[in-house]
């Protein structure tokens, strides 16, 4: 594996189907497991990616998740054409959520998603424009 040519995988995250949210994360988990990454790395990627996937479904009507596996790092890029995030600093704070009540009754919308992604990844980059969409770049560096 060359550093400049990562293994790449692409997944469509459907915005109309809240119950299938998480499917891409499960696929990624399987891929990383088969490559032989350690359990802690897989856990961190799973948590971060699942939250990002859920966000694309709840807040942005779906999108695309791309996985790049480098020898020394795992990068996930999630791109959507949703409403964008007005105040990223506010969105990053624990407990802040604009999720509607019906989402809350399903166990989401606690405003923990973005903070969880930050906590479990080694780098989180958010690029968002109001009315255009949001791009999350999540990097996880295996420790072993």
């Amino acid at each position: 594996m060359d550093n400049s040519t990562p293994l790449t995988y692409s997944f469509t995250v459907h915005g109309d189907d809240f119950s299938s949210a998480g499917e891409a994360s499960v696929q990624v988990k399987k891929i990383l497991r088969s490559i032989g990454f350690d359990a802690d790395t897989i856990r961190r990627v799973s948590i971060a990616m699942y939250e990002a996937e859920i966000n694309m479904v709840i807040h942005a009507g779906g999108g695309v998740a791309d996985l790049y596996v480098y020898p020394d790092r795992i990068v996930i890029v999630l791109t959507d054409k949703g409403p964008g995030i007005a105040d990223i600093g506010l969105a990053m704070s624990e407990g802040y959520s604009t999720a509607p009540d019906n989402i809350r009754s399903l166990g989401f919308g606690a405003g923990m998603g973005l903070p969880n992604i930050k906590r479990y990844s080694d780098n989180l980059d958010i690029d968002s424009k109001l009315g255009e969409g949001t791009k999350l770049t999540i990097t996880v560096i295996p420790q072993r």
């Binding site: 119950s19 994360s25 359990a39 948590i47």
Partner: protein, 109 residues
């Protein structure tokens, strides 16, 4: 302690049988799935009153040993089918999450 052991020790009902020989490494309880996702750990059993399919995604991603639905919460057919497909043990009990945790505490001692 295996999943099959706690079923008999705590009189849980087995709703979906996947691998009941799995070891239980601990217990986690909560209904906010983002919170569970961030704090739960592999091998734990999850005690919850949430019975929508997102619970199964969390259980699968965290590789939980089983999900225990408290207070006789009834999952729908989609939940049952998906749990079979994802091979997740699903148990249920008429007791509250609190009481279930005390039963598990005794059983796992």
């Amino acid at each position: 302690m295996k999943v099959s052991d706690i079923i008999s020790k705590c009189s849980f009902t087995l709703l979906v049988e996947a691998d009941t020989e799995r070891d239980i490494t601990g217990v986690y309880t909560g209904d906010l799935l983002s919170w569970v996702m961030g704090h739960g750990e592999e091998g734990q059993c999850l005690v919850t009153i949430m019975s929508n399919v997102n619970v199964l995604a969390v259980a699968s991603l965290l590789d939980l040993s089983c999900v225990i639905l408290a207070e006789n919460v009834k999952p729908d057919d989609e939940f049952i089918e998906l749990a079979k497909e994802k091979e997740i043990n699903v148990l249920s009990s008429s007791e509250s999450a609190y009481t279930i945790c005390t039963l598990l505490y005794e059983a796992l001692k």
